[in-house]
């Protein structure tokens, strides 16, 4: 674990974001298991260091694309947990007016181009956003999140290649949590890691410990800065793990308890907390207070979600066309 060069006060803020994601996901899972939320729910508990470490370098008007497992990315980019809960409940006041749900949360006002229910689909979309930025001479960048499962899609290949040949300002962030649903990544991909694939596209690649916020911060900083100054895309593979099954309710019979335990032992939150304690940036009481604050915030957000106005049925016919 590195990180000595980082300002501890800033790391406290990043830690808060990680705690916020964890708390959001745990609350959502609780509500879902109680039957309060319709549809599906994919939890990112265990993967918090990746979105927080990458989005740490993004401004409000930088952009991200996300996935079916998108709550972490979207919160890390600065979304309002209450409007997210409202959407999970299907409320008219949710981010998507109840039309999208968990898998499609979007907030264009802060550059969240969308969670996406189609594996890999965000990758060409991120490339296209990169074209917009490049054509208007902007120094904004796009962070494109996707799972290990997306790596075998045609969309990955076409999208990354397109970004590579035109040196588009995109940071491709693979969250390799080892599984696509039940399928272990090593059974569907013989490359030792994505840096080999990056070579195939003629772009830089890095293999990163995705459970180590500092490792993610360092690699993401290089990649974001490269994209910002016109140096083109980077492919980051962040190795991590999802603590829950594929969806909330998935018994995850395809993996062993030991495997899960070994990854829980490497809890990305605990690592950062330990560093902050070590640095004296937080004491135990301060850490507990931070957690309590965030939990209260999420509790309030969830309650706001539950109280949201239900959509009028006829509103289902709105927003099909803009003109």
């Amino acid at each position: 674990m590195s990180g000595v060069a980082f300002d501890p006060a800033w790391i406290v803020e990043l830690y808060r974001r990680m705690v916020r994601i964890r708390a959001f996901e745990e609350k959502a899972a609780e509500l879902y298991q109680k039957g309060a939320l319709p549809g599906f729910l994919h939890s990112s508990v265990g993967q918090e260091a990746v979105p927080v470490g990458v989005c740490a370098w993004l401004e409000r008007d930088d952009l991200i694309t996300s996935t079916h497992r998108g709550h972490g990315h979207i919160l890390a980019k600065g979304a309002d947990p209450a409007r997210m809960f409202l959407e999970l409940y299907g409320s008219e006041e949710g981010y998507n007016r109840g039309k999208g749900g968990s898998m499609h949360i979007m907030d264009f006002s802060i550059g969240v181009l969308g969670a996406n229910g189609i594996v890999g689909a965000g990758i060409p979309i991120a490339a296209g956003a990169g074209i917009s930025l490049q054509n208007r001479g902007s120094d904004r960048v796009v962070a494109c999140f996707f799972g290990d499962g997306a790596v075998t899609t045609g969309a990955f290949h076409e999208g990354v290649n397109m970004a590579a040949i035109w040196e588009l300002p995109v940071v491709f962030v693979c969250e390799n949590n080892q599984y696509a649903e039940s399928t272990p990544h090593r059974t569907v991909d013989r490359a030792p890691d994505l840096t080999v694939r990056a070579q195939g596209y003629g772009i830089p690649g890095e293999l990163v410990d995705g459970n180590d916020l500092f490792a993610v911060l360092e690699a993401a900083q290089r990649a974001v800065e490269r994209a910002r100054r016109g140096g083109g895309p980077t492919l980051l593979e962040c190795r991590t793990y999802r603590w829950y099954g594929h969806y909330i309710g998935d018994p995850a019979v395809y993996r062993s308890d030991e495997e899960v335990a070994s990854w829980k032992a490497r809890d990305p939150l605990r690592r950062v907390a330990a560093w902050l304690l070590e640095q004296g940036a937080l004491d135990e009481e301060g850490e507990a207070r931070l957690r309590a604050e965030v939990e209260a915030e999420i509790e309030a957000a969830a309650e706001a979600g539950a109280r949201g106005r239900r959509p009028a049925p006829e509103s289902a016919l709105e927003d099909v066309y803009a003109g």
Binding site: G98, G101, H104
Partner: protein, 341 residues
């Protein structure tokens, strides 16, 4: 013949197992279909353990290659049954399905058959949101060379899936997700029941109005028929198309000539849906003989939204079938029938 009660899921699983047992060239290919997962919806549970991981292959997330590999295997002596997890994801494999599978026999001048089955589940009703709720059978009915099958009961599910696997042509086999847990009688394995493709099934006879539908909407049509009988004394005939393309014009037209009122119902989007083709055909065939009253029931013109009340507003169900049947009879000047209400 002896029957048991099975769920749709179990019936489909039996069909796969029996066909794999019967014919060593049958194999399965799809995402997450191996044990212990046994498929996202558990249809293939146990099959990789029983038949091995070469005959039940866990594919990467590569829908184009899954269907494409099915095409390549089908023209080289295998009978692949490939699984695409959601109807929506077929969009990724459309070239392989439409420009390859559907056309290879034709383009080859009849040199080869393409005995490929593409299994696929989906449809509305579970708040799965716009990208996991589409029903796209009308697209495939517009493609010469493909067959399109949608079962509505466990018994049909088994017998139609067996037929699809044995069929020499590419069959897109749509499994309505909401039916996986539905139960019904299924003949014993020894019966080896195979349903003919292209033949509709009259699921309920009736004299007053014909309801043509398929898939998840068959149960709704039967419920609608019960209500019409109870509340209006109207006897609806419910026809389950089972094969959506090529569809069984004879059965539909014969029923229509009897009832002289028709409701075509599906949960797919109304505009450009199968209902348009069926309605247009019946008008064309029957207009000169009888007064024609037809109502099309289909989803309103919007993607399928997430919130349950929105989804229910967009996607039709029992209510809409009942209302359409009544409107049809009224327009036909047979409101008298309804007077019994």
């Amino acid at each position: 013949m002896p029957v048991r009660e099975l769920t749709m899921r179990e019936a489909l699983r039996e069909a796969l197992a029996e066909e794999m047992e019967r014919d060593p060239s049958v194999f399965l290919l799809g995402e997450d279909i191996q044990d212990p997962m046994g498929g996202s919806y558990k249809v293939t549970l146990g099959l990789s353990t029983r038949f091995g991981t070469r005959r039940v292959r866990n594919a990467p997330i590569s829908e184009a290659a899954i269907v494409g590999a099915g095409v390549g295997a089908a023209v080289t002596g295998s009978r692949p049954v490939v699984e695409v997890m959601y109807v929506d994801f077929l969009e990724i494999a459309m070239d392989q399905l439409v420009s390859q599978a559907a056309k290879i026999r034709y383009m080859s001048g009849g040199q080869v058959a393409v005995p490929l089955t593409v299994r696929c589940q989906g449809g509305p009703g579970r708040s799965a949101g716009p990208q996991h709720s589409q029903l796209l059978e009308a697209w495939f009915a517009h493609v010469p060379g493909l067959k399109v099958v949608v079962p509505s009961t466990p018994r049909d599910g088994k017998a139609l899936l067996k037929a699809a696997i044995r069929d020499p042509d590419p069959v897109v086999f749509f499994e309505p997700n909401v039916l996986y847990n539905s139960r019904g009688p299924v003949p014993d394995p020894g019966a080896d029941e195979v349903a003919p493709l292209g033949k509709a099934d009259v699921k309920r006879p009736g004299r007053d109005v014909t309801v043509v539908t398929y898939g998840a909407m068959v149960a709704m049509a039967l419920e609608a028929a019960e209500r019409l009988a109870r509340e209006d004394g109207v006897e609806a005939e419910v026809i389950d198309l089972r094969t959506v393309s090529p569809w069984d014009r004879e059965t539909v037209l014969a029923s229509f000539r009897k009832t002289r009122a028709l409701v075509v119902a599906h949960q797919a989007v109304r505009q450009g849906g199968m209902g348009a083709e069926i309605a247009a055909t019946v008008y064309e065939e029957a207009l000169d003989e009888v007064d024609v009253e037809i109502a099309r029931v289909g989803a309103r013109f919007a993607p399928t939204p997430f919130a349950p009340e929105l989804e229910r507003y967009v996607v039709p169900g029992v209510e809409e079938i009942v209302a359409a049947a009544r409107a049809t009879l009224e327009r036909a000047g047979r409101a008298g029938l309804l007077a019994r209400r």
